[in-house]
Amino acid sequence: MNQVGWDALAVSTLLVFIAVALSWWRNLGLARSILWAATRALVQLTAIGLLLQIILNPGVSIWWGWLWVAIMILIAAITIRWRTPNVPGTFGLSLAALTGTAALTLGVLFGLGVFPLDLRSLISLSGLMIGNSMAVSVLVGRRIVDELSDKRDEVEARLALGASSAQAAQPYLRSSLRTALIPQIETTKVVGLIALPGAMTGLILAGVDPLDAVRVQTAVMYLVLGSVTTTATILALGIRRQLFSADHRLTAPRRES
């Protein structure tokens, strides 16, 4: 199995310095951000690696893994709330959406025996699932509020014609979900043609047979596709309910024209 030692890792920072040098040379003003990002990545990944080293020891109960998943969901929900300040009730909604998605997707993967239920699989797969779902959730949340606020006149014209809030919001929910999900679908379409995905690259570098790596990667991509779509849809429907009253009035924030 290939291994990257600390000395080899130190050599790889040469690439970061090339990026910094380019930023200085072209006066991009990104040198500080690049250094900060590289340092953060190193510190965060090392910290998480040390923690995983403890948790992934044989004999550690699977319940620690479920606790890990719960904490990740909580942190993701807080992050979504923090990144979508104009969207009402996103903390509770994202908590519900991520929990529902985790139950569904992990239920399929482990319940139907796609992956063995052990700490290693549970933590890495749920991390992928939650991380990707979080990014899409932030996008969906912002888009829906923007769409319904920007097109308020149109939405109210639909309501005034006797449309229910679900009917009136449908075109804007559809557009928001499509905008948020299409990049993920496009990535899935071109995988392998343009770039090798990270997990598969990691497996191949670690010495795993390429076809074994392909099967794992494909299952992982299906997990990501299924989970981001499920989370985004649950969240979108939840946000829609927050932005209309029970008697089908639009209560989304009014934009200054």
Binding site: E156, L161, G162, A163, P171, R249
Partner: protein
């Protein structure tokens, strides 16, 4: 009476404020709802279509408190046309079908003729229409719900003078055909051209209501100032 407002108040920012608004709207002809900007005219209209609900007081439609009516059914009986034309993406036919999903082509052509538009507009992209055409399509779309009244919230404010005149004539023909119109405007000349009845709103209240022919009788000083074109 078609619509009755009884001690209706609504908070919110200044331009959406009503303070004990009380008055009635006739179920015949064109009622002009006039007043200076921010007087609460549009808010009163939105209450009748239940896009807003009052903090206190009651709004009645044909004698029934509208809070007790199904909002979706009420909105189909009380149609509304907004200040800016709001065509939906898609063809004119698709727009009309939002008003009535069961609409066939013959009925759609009849609706277009009712608002003075040619049948060949049906297949046109609604977002590419002129302002006047788009506003007429919005009116036709509202008529597709077969309403008992049409509320029009400053419907000519974004139109050119020719399109404005056409829409005023259209409102008159609808009123003559038995569909009462409630028309919001702050334009005194327009009110004089179109109104059978007038409600004057000042500072969130209905300050005066009268037939258009004897408008100033028994009116207060602020109402007379507004009708005389003085800035309040």
């Amino acid at each position: 009476m078609l619509l009755t407002f009884d001690q209706v108040s609504l908070g919110g920012d200044q331009s959406h404020r009503l303070a004990n608004a009380t008055g009635e709207i006739s179920d015949r002809g064109i009622t002009a709802l006039v007043g200076p900007s921010g007087a609460g005219k549009s808010t009163l209209l939105r209450l009748a279509n239940r896009l807003e609900v009052p903090d206190s007081g009651t709004v009645q439609f044909r004698g029934h408190d509208i809070n007790t009516l199904d909002p979706l059914a009420l909105r189909r009986r009380v149609a509304m046309v907004f200040q800016r034309p709001t065509p939906f993406p898609g063809s004119v036919m698709e727009n009309l079908c939002v008003g009535d999903p069961e609409l066939n082509e013959t009925q759609a052509v009849t609706l277009l003729e009712r608002v003075g538009l040619a049948a060949d507009l049906l297949t046109r992209d609604a977002l590419l229409l002129s302002g006047g055409e788009a506003q007429r399509v919005c009116l036709a779309r509202a008529l597709a719900t077969n309403p008992e009244v049409v509320l029009m919230d400053e419907p000519t404010s974004s139109l050119d003078p020719a399109a404005r005149t056409d829409l005023e004539k259209l409102a008159r023909s609808l009123a003559n055909s038995g569909i009462p119109i409630v028309w919001v405007t702050h334009d005194i000349a327009q009110m004089q051209r179109i109104a059978d009845y007038v409600l004057v709103m000042i500072d969130g209240a209905i300050a005066h209501s009268a037939n258009a022919t004897d408008l100033e009788a028994n009116s207060s000083l602020p109402v007379r100032d507004f009708l005389a074109g003085k800035k309040l």
